[in-house]
Amino acid sequence: MHLERLEVAPGVHEWALAEAVLKTLYDTLGCRRVDRLVLGLGELQAIDRDVFLFALKTLAEEMGGIGRVEVREVEARFRCRRCGYEWTLKGAGLGEEEREAIHFVPEAVHVYLSCPRCGSHDFEVVSGRGLAIIDVEGEGCRVQE
Protein backbone atom coordinates (compact mmCIF):
# COMPACT_ATOMS: atom_id res chain seq x y z
CA MET A 1 0.00 0.00 0.00
CA HIS A 2 1.07 3.51 -0.73
CA LEU A 3 -0.97 5.17 1.95
CA GLU A 4 1.90 7.12 3.41
CA ARG A 5 2.68 8.69 0.12
CA LEU A 6 -0.95 9.43 -0.46
CA GLU A 7 -1.20 11.23 2.81
CA VAL A 8 1.57 13.64 1.96
CA ALA A 9 0.38 14.18 -1.58
CA PRO A 10 -3.32 13.51 -1.40
CA GLY A 11 -4.73 15.85 -3.93
CA VAL A 12 -3.42 15.43 -7.41
CA HIS A 13 -4.87 15.30 -10.86
CA GLU A 14 -5.41 11.55 -10.49
CA TRP A 15 -8.41 12.24 -8.26
CA ALA A 16 -10.04 14.42 -10.86
CA LEU A 17 -9.49 11.74 -13.50
CA ALA A 18 -10.76 8.95 -11.26
CA GLU A 19 -13.90 10.98 -10.62
CA ALA A 20 -14.29 11.49 -14.36
CA VAL A 21 -14.09 7.74 -15.03
CA LEU A 22 -16.67 6.91 -12.36
CA LYS A 23 -19.10 9.55 -13.54
CA THR A 24 -18.80 8.20 -17.05
CA LEU A 25 -19.54 4.67 -15.88
CA TYR A 26 -22.41 5.46 -13.56
CA ASP A 27 -23.96 8.49 -15.23
CA THR A 28 -23.12 8.49 -18.92
CA LEU A 29 -22.96 4.74 -19.56
CA GLY A 30 -25.71 4.05 -17.03
CA CYS A 31 -23.93 1.22 -15.19
CA ARG A 32 -25.62 -0.05 -12.06
CA ARG A 33 -22.70 -2.31 -11.19
CA VAL A 34 -19.21 -2.55 -12.66
CA ASP A 35 -17.57 -5.97 -12.60
CA ARG A 36 -14.60 -5.39 -14.85
CA LEU A 37 -13.01 -2.25 -16.16
CA VAL A 38 -10.13 -1.98 -18.60
CA LEU A 39 -8.36 1.36 -18.71
CA GLY A 40 -5.56 2.64 -20.89
CA LEU A 41 -3.10 4.99 -19.25
CA GLY A 42 -1.10 6.95 -21.77
CA GLU A 43 2.59 7.25 -21.03
CA LEU A 44 2.51 10.93 -21.91
CA GLN A 45 0.13 11.97 -19.16
CA ALA A 46 2.12 9.86 -16.68
CA ILE A 47 -0.79 9.20 -14.37
CA ASP A 48 0.43 7.74 -11.09
CA ARG A 49 -1.12 4.30 -11.29
CA ASP A 50 -1.27 3.66 -7.55
CA VAL A 51 -2.69 7.05 -6.64
CA PHE A 52 -5.19 6.76 -9.46
CA LEU A 53 -6.36 3.28 -8.43
CA PHE A 54 -6.58 4.34 -4.79
CA ALA A 55 -8.65 7.36 -5.81
CA LEU A 56 -10.84 5.20 -8.04
CA LYS A 57 -11.55 2.66 -5.28
CA THR A 58 -12.12 5.34 -2.65
CA LEU A 59 -14.48 7.40 -4.76
CA ALA A 60 -16.24 4.26 -6.02
CA GLU A 61 -17.35 3.42 -2.49
CA GLU A 62 -19.60 6.50 -2.56
CA MET A 63 -21.02 5.47 -5.93
CA GLY A 64 -21.74 1.93 -7.06
CA GLY A 65 -18.45 0.26 -6.15
CA ILE A 66 -16.02 -1.13 -8.67
CA GLY A 67 -14.98 -4.66 -9.55
CA ARG A 68 -11.72 -5.76 -11.14
CA VAL A 69 -9.72 -2.96 -12.71
CA GLU A 70 -7.16 -3.75 -15.38
CA VAL A 71 -4.74 -1.06 -16.38
CA ARG A 72 -2.84 -1.09 -19.66
CA GLU A 73 0.03 1.29 -20.08
CA VAL A 74 0.17 2.69 -23.59
CA GLU A 75 3.50 3.84 -24.99
CA ALA A 76 3.60 7.42 -26.25
CA ARG A 77 4.44 7.66 -29.96
CA PHE A 78 4.82 10.75 -32.08
CA ARG A 79 4.80 11.30 -35.85
CA CYS A 80 6.08 14.47 -37.46
CA ARG A 81 3.55 16.20 -39.66
CA ARG A 82 6.27 17.79 -41.73
CA CYS A 83 8.76 15.00 -42.44
CA GLY A 84 6.93 11.88 -41.24
CA TYR A 85 9.57 10.79 -38.70
CA GLU A 86 8.27 8.66 -35.81
CA TRP A 87 9.70 8.59 -32.31
CA THR A 88 8.88 7.81 -28.67
CA LEU A 89 9.33 9.45 -25.30
CA LYS A 90 12.41 7.37 -24.45
CA GLY A 91 15.46 9.54 -24.42
CA ALA A 92 13.39 12.67 -25.07
CA GLY A 93 15.08 14.21 -22.03
CA LEU A 94 12.13 16.05 -20.53
CA GLY A 95 12.76 17.92 -17.28
CA GLU A 96 10.72 17.62 -14.09
CA GLU A 97 8.76 20.83 -14.64
CA GLU A 98 8.05 19.92 -18.26
CA ARG A 99 6.76 16.50 -17.27
CA GLU A 100 4.44 18.09 -14.75
CA ALA A 101 3.00 20.51 -17.29
CA ILE A 102 2.44 17.60 -19.70
CA HIS A 103 0.86 15.57 -16.92
CA PHE A 104 -1.86 18.21 -16.60
CA VAL A 105 -2.23 19.06 -20.29
CA PRO A 106 -0.63 16.41 -22.53
CA GLU A 107 -0.80 18.72 -25.58
CA ALA A 108 1.78 20.93 -23.84
CA VAL A 109 4.21 18.35 -25.23
CA HIS A 110 4.16 20.44 -28.42
CA VAL A 111 6.01 23.14 -26.53
CA TYR A 112 8.67 20.95 -24.98
CA LEU A 113 9.40 18.47 -27.78
CA SER A 114 10.14 18.92 -31.44
CA CYS A 115 10.83 16.43 -34.21
CA PRO A 116 14.30 14.88 -33.65
CA ARG A 117 14.87 14.88 -37.39
CA CYS A 118 13.60 18.27 -38.62
CA GLY A 119 12.83 20.30 -35.49
CA SER A 120 9.11 20.75 -36.20
CA HIS A 121 6.72 21.32 -33.30
CA ASP A 122 3.88 20.27 -35.57
CA PHE A 123 3.65 16.56 -34.85
CA GLU A 124 0.92 14.08 -34.08
CA VAL A 125 0.57 12.18 -30.82
CA VAL A 126 -0.15 8.80 -32.40
CA SER A 127 -0.73 6.90 -29.16
CA GLY A 128 -0.32 7.08 -25.41
CA ARG A 129 -1.81 10.51 -24.83
CA GLY A 130 -3.93 10.13 -21.71
CA LEU A 131 -6.62 8.19 -19.97
CA ALA A 132 -9.04 6.03 -21.95
CA ILE A 133 -11.79 3.60 -21.02
CA ILE A 134 -11.03 0.56 -23.18
CA ASP A 135 -13.69 -1.84 -21.95
CA VAL A 136 -16.30 -2.21 -19.26
CA GLU A 137 -18.43 -5.14 -18.13
CA GLY A 138 -21.19 -4.95 -15.59
CA GLU A 139 -24.88 -4.48 -15.14
CA GLY A 140 -26.72 -1.86 -17.17
CA CYS A 141 -23.66 -0.44 -18.90
CA ARG A 142 -24.61 0.89 -22.31
CA VAL A 143 -21.27 0.60 -24.00
CA GLN A 144 -21.29 2.65 -27.21
CA GLU A 145 -18.98 2.77 -30.13
Binding site: G11, H13, E19, T24, E107, H110, V111, D122, V125
Partner: protein
Protein backbone atom coordinates in the same frame (compact mmCIF):
# COMPACT_ATOMS: atom_id res chain seq x y z
CA UNK B 1 -19.72 13.29 -29.29
CA UNK B 2 -18.19 14.71 -26.12
CA UNK B 3 -20.45 12.47 -24.06
CA UNK B 4 -18.40 9.32 -24.18
CA UNK B 5 -15.31 11.20 -23.04
CA UNK B 6 -14.66 10.60 -19.32
CA UNK B 7 -13.60 14.21 -18.87
CA UNK B 8 -16.87 15.56 -20.19
CA UNK B 9 -18.87 13.94 -17.42
CA UNK B 10 -17.15 15.88 -14.64
CA UNK B 11 -17.21 19.24 -16.38
CA UNK B 12 -20.84 19.85 -15.43
CA UNK B 13 -19.88 19.46 -11.78
CA UNK B 14 -16.87 21.70 -12.17
CA UNK B 15 -18.95 24.51 -13.65
CA UNK B 16 -21.78 24.14 -11.17
CA UNK B 17 -20.24 26.64 -8.75
CA UNK B 18 -20.47 29.35 -11.42
CA UNK B 19 -23.61 31.46 -11.85
CA UNK B 20 -22.88 32.97 -15.26
CA UNK B 21 -20.40 31.97 -17.96
CA UNK B 22 -19.65 34.84 -20.31
CA UNK B 23 -17.88 33.87 -23.52
CA UNK B 24 -16.13 36.80 -25.20
CA UNK B 25 -15.76 36.20 -28.93
CA UNK B 26 -15.25 37.79 -32.32
CA UNK B 27 -14.16 36.18 -35.58
CA UNK B 28 -12.13 39.30 -36.36
CA UNK B 29 -8.72 39.38 -34.71
CA UNK B 30 -7.38 42.29 -32.73
CA UNK B 31 -10.67 43.98 -31.94
CA UNK B 32 -10.11 43.79 -28.18
CA UNK B 33 -11.52 40.48 -26.94
CA UNK B 34 -8.66 39.85 -24.55
CA UNK B 35 -8.61 43.39 -23.23
CA UNK B 36 -12.36 43.41 -22.69
CA UNK B 37 -12.51 39.91 -21.20
CA UNK B 38 -9.77 40.62 -18.68
CA UNK B 39 -11.05 44.08 -17.78
CA UNK B 40 -14.57 42.75 -17.31
CA UNK B 41 -13.33 40.12 -14.86
CA UNK B 42 -11.23 42.70 -13.03
CA UNK B 43 -14.06 45.23 -12.92
CA UNK B 44 -16.41 42.58 -11.54
CA UNK B 45 -13.92 41.68 -8.83
CA UNK B 46 -13.46 45.39 -8.13
CA UNK B 47 -17.19 45.59 -7.45
CA UNK B 48 -16.89 42.80 -4.93
CA UNK B 49 -18.38 40.11 -7.19
CA UNK B 50 -16.65 36.74 -7.20
CA UNK B 51 -15.16 36.66 -10.65
CA UNK B 52 -13.07 34.29 -12.72
CA UNK B 53 -11.17 34.50 -15.99
CA UNK B 54 -10.44 31.56 -18.28
CA UNK B 55 -8.11 32.09 -21.23
CA UNK B 56 -8.96 29.67 -24.04
CA UNK B 57 -6.82 31.33 -26.67
CA UNK B 58 -4.75 28.17 -26.58
CA UNK B 59 -2.05 28.98 -29.10
CA UNK B 60 -1.75 32.64 -28.23
CA UNK B 61 -2.88 33.33 -24.66
CA UNK B 62 -2.44 36.96 -23.59
CA UNK B 63 -4.63 37.60 -20.56
CA UNK B 64 -1.62 37.09 -18.27
CA UNK B 65 -0.08 40.19 -19.85
CA UNK B 66 -3.15 42.21 -18.95
CA UNK B 67 -3.16 40.83 -15.40
CA UNK B 68 0.59 41.21 -14.97
CA UNK B 69 1.29 37.54 -14.31
CA UNK B 70 4.42 35.59 -15.20
CA UNK B 71 2.76 32.27 -16.06
CA UNK B 72 4.10 29.01 -14.68
CA UNK B 73 3.16 25.90 -12.78
CA UNK B 74 4.24 27.38 -9.45
CA UNK B 75 1.08 29.50 -9.49
CA UNK B 76 -1.36 26.63 -9.42
CA UNK B 77 -2.48 24.80 -6.34
CA UNK B 78 -3.37 21.14 -6.52
CA UNK B 79 -6.32 19.94 -4.53
CA UNK B 80 -7.95 16.93 -6.17
CA UNK B 81 -7.54 18.90 -9.35
CA UNK B 82 -6.30 22.43 -9.80
CA UNK B 83 -7.44 25.42 -7.80
CA UNK B 84 -6.98 28.58 -9.89
CA UNK B 85 -4.83 31.27 -8.29
CA UNK B 86 -6.48 34.58 -7.41
CA UNK B 87 -4.96 37.54 -9.22
CA UNK B 88 -6.26 40.91 -8.06
CA UNK B 89 -9.36 39.14 -6.81
CA UNK B 90 -9.92 37.19 -10.06
CA UNK B 91 -9.74 33.38 -10.06
CA UNK B 92 -7.55 32.80 -13.04
CA UNK B 93 -6.86 29.88 -15.37
CA UNK B 94 -4.85 29.91 -18.58
CA UNK B 95 -3.11 27.37 -20.77
CA UNK B 96 -0.01 29.54 -20.32
CA UNK B 97 0.43 27.99 -16.85
CA UNK B 98 1.32 24.77 -18.67
CA UNK B 99 3.23 26.19 -21.61
CA UNK B 100 5.14 28.83 -19.68
CA UNK B 101 3.76 31.26 -22.22
CA UNK B 102 5.72 29.64 -25.06
CA UNK B 103 4.26 28.90 -28.48
CA UNK B 104 1.95 25.91 -28.66
CA UNK B 105 1.60 24.32 -32.09
CA UNK B 106 -1.85 22.81 -31.96
CA UNK B 107 -4.26 21.31 -34.44
CA UNK B 108 -7.99 20.64 -34.57
CA UNK B 109 -8.92 17.91 -32.14
CA UNK B 110 -5.95 18.69 -29.94
CA UNK B 111 -7.59 21.99 -29.04
CA UNK B 112 -10.67 20.09 -27.91
CA UNK B 113 -8.45 17.85 -25.79
CA UNK B 114 -6.82 20.80 -24.08
CA UNK B 115 -10.15 22.44 -23.34
CA UNK B 116 -11.68 19.25 -21.93
CA UNK B 117 -8.57 18.60 -19.85
CA UNK B 118 -8.53 22.11 -18.40
CA UNK B 119 -12.27 22.21 -17.72
CA UNK B 120 -12.17 18.74 -16.12
CA UNK B 121 -9.29 19.50 -13.81
CA UNK B 122 -10.04 23.08 -12.73
CA UNK B 123 -11.93 23.42 -9.47
CA UNK B 124 -13.48 26.88 -9.61
CA UNK B 125 -14.58 28.40 -6.35
CA UNK B 126 -18.08 29.89 -6.07
CA UNK B 127 -18.22 32.48 -8.83
CA UNK B 128 -20.84 34.99 -9.80
CA UNK B 129 -19.17 35.39 -13.19
CA UNK B 130 -16.65 33.45 -15.26
CA UNK B 131 -15.36 35.38 -18.26
CA UNK B 132 -13.88 33.27 -21.08
CA UNK B 133 -11.46 34.77 -23.59
CA UNK B 134 -11.34 33.06 -27.00
CA UNK B 135 -9.16 33.32 -30.11
CA UNK B 136 -10.37 34.96 -33.31
CA UNK B 137 -12.11 32.83 -35.90
CA UNK B 138 -15.06 30.47 -35.61
CA UNK B 139 -13.07 27.32 -35.07
CA UNK B 140 -12.28 24.71 -32.46
CA UNK B 141 -11.81 26.72 -29.29
CA UNK B 142 -14.81 28.94 -29.91
CA UNK B 143 -17.09 26.11 -31.03
CA UNK B 144 -15.98 23.85 -28.19
CA UNK B 145 -16.61 26.32 -25.41
CA UNK B 146 -19.95 27.33 -26.95
CA UNK B 147 -21.04 23.70 -27.28
CA UNK B 148 -19.86 22.69 -23.86
CA UNK B 149 -21.15 25.70 -21.98
CA UNK B 150 -24.54 25.71 -23.70
CA UNK B 151 -24.95 21.97 -23.17
CA UNK B 152 -24.03 21.70 -19.53
CA UNK B 153 -24.31 25.15 -18.00
CA UNK B 154 -27.63 26.79 -17.16
CA UNK B 155 -26.53 30.37 -17.83
CA UNK B 156 -23.94 30.83 -20.55
CA UNK B 157 -24.01 33.96 -22.68
CA UNK B 158 -21.89 35.28 -25.50
CA UNK B 159 -20.53 38.81 -25.81
CA UNK B 160 -19.49 39.68 -29.35
CA UNK B 161 -16.78 42.31 -29.58
CA UNK B 162 -16.42 44.51 -32.64
CA UNK B 163 -15.09 47.83 -33.76
CA UNK B 164 -16.96 50.13 -36.14
CA UNK B 165 -14.81 48.96 -39.05
CA UNK B 166 -16.88 47.33 -41.74
CA UNK B 167 -14.51 44.38 -41.74
CA UNK B 168 -15.03 43.78 -38.04
CA UNK B 169 -18.77 44.33 -38.37
CA UNK B 170 -19.04 41.76 -41.13
CA UNK B 171 -17.18 39.26 -38.96
CA UNK B 172 -19.48 39.99 -36.02
CA UNK B 173 -22.53 39.54 -38.24
CA UNK B 174 -21.29 36.11 -39.32
CA UNK B 175 -20.85 34.97 -35.75
CA UNK B 176 -24.20 36.41 -34.65
CA UNK B 177 -25.87 34.46 -37.46
CA UNK B 178 -24.34 31.21 -36.25
CA UNK B 179 -25.26 31.98 -32.65
CA UNK B 180 -28.84 32.80 -33.60
CA UNK B 181 -29.28 29.64 -35.65
CA UNK B 182 -27.86 27.53 -32.85
CA UNK B 183 -30.07 29.13 -30.24
CA UNK B 184 -27.13 30.36 -28.19
CA UNK B 185 -27.87 33.10 -25.72
CA UNK B 186 -26.27 36.36 -26.87
CA UNK B 187 -25.70 38.94 -24.15
CA UNK B 188 -24.98 41.58 -26.77
CA UNK B 189 -22.33 43.53 -28.62
CA UNK B 190 -19.47 45.54 -27.20
CA UNK B 191 -18.15 48.29 -29.43
CA UNK B 192 -14.44 48.74 -28.87
CA UNK B 193 -12.28 51.67 -29.89
CA UNK B 194 -15.50 53.63 -30.10
CA UNK B 195 -15.59 57.29 -31.03
CA UNK B 196 -18.89 58.02 -29.33
CA UNK B 197 -20.79 58.76 -32.54
CA UNK B 198 -23.53 56.48 -33.79
CA UNK B 199 -21.84 53.79 -35.84
CA UNK B 200 -22.35 50.66 -37.86
CA UNK B 201 -22.41 48.82 -34.55
CA UNK B 202 -25.81 50.32 -33.75
CA UNK B 203 -27.09 49.29 -37.17
CA UNK B 204 -25.79 45.76 -36.74
CA UNK B 205 -27.35 45.54 -33.27
CA UNK B 206 -30.70 46.63 -34.62
CA UNK B 207 -30.53 44.33 -37.60
CA UNK B 208 -29.67 41.32 -35.46
CA UNK B 209 -31.94 42.23 -32.58
CA UNK B 210 -29.21 42.43 -29.95
CA UNK B 211 -28.17 45.10 -27.52
CA UNK B 212 -25.03 47.25 -27.49
CA UNK B 213 -23.81 46.51 -23.97
CA UNK B 214 -20.94 48.96 -23.81
CA UNK B 215 -18.88 51.33 -25.86
CA UNK B 216 -15.24 51.25 -24.98
CA UNK B 217 -13.35 54.31 -26.24
CA UNK B 218 -9.98 54.15 -27.91
CA UNK B 219 -7.63 54.83 -25.02
CA UNK B 220 -3.96 55.58 -25.74
CA UNK B 221 -3.22 55.15 -22.03
CA UNK B 222 -4.16 51.48 -22.10
CA UNK B 223 -0.80 50.14 -23.26
CA UNK B 224 1.12 51.66 -20.35
CA UNK B 225 -1.38 50.29 -17.85
CA UNK B 226 -1.13 46.68 -19.10
CA UNK B 227 -0.02 44.42 -16.27
CA UNK B 228 -1.25 46.86 -13.64
CA UNK B 229 -4.89 46.02 -12.91
CA UNK B 230 -5.63 48.95 -10.55
CA UNK B 231 -4.31 51.38 -13.17
CA UNK B 232 -6.21 49.54 -15.94
CA UNK B 233 -9.49 49.93 -14.14
CA UNK B 234 -8.92 53.67 -13.95
CA UNK B 235 -8.36 54.06 -17.70
CA UNK B 236 -11.26 55.25 -19.83
CA UNK B 237 -11.51 51.76 -21.28
CA UNK B 238 -11.61 50.22 -17.82
CA UNK B 239 -14.33 52.54 -16.63
CA UNK B 240 -16.39 51.89 -19.74
CA UNK B 241 -16.65 48.23 -18.80
CA UNK B 242 -18.55 49.15 -15.68
CA UNK B 243 -21.43 49.78 -18.10
CA UNK B 244 -21.23 46.22 -19.26
CA UNK B 245 -21.50 44.86 -15.74
CA UNK B 246 -24.45 47.12 -15.08
CA UNK B 247 -26.23 45.61 -18.08
CA UNK B 248 -25.37 42.04 -17.12
CA UNK B 249 -26.41 42.11 -13.47
Amino acid sequence: MYRSDPRFSVIGDRLRSIDTVLVVASPKGGVGKTTIAALTALAAAGRGLQAGLLDLDLTNPCTHIVLGVDPGLELIEEEKGIVPPRIHGVSYMTVAFFTGGRGLALRGGEATNVILEILAVTRWPRLRLLVVDTPPGIRDEVLDILNIASTIHHDSRVVVVTTASRMALEAARRLLGILRDGGFRVAGLVENMATGARSGVDELAEAMGVEVLARVPYDPGLEDALGNPPALLKTRAGRALEQLLGKLF
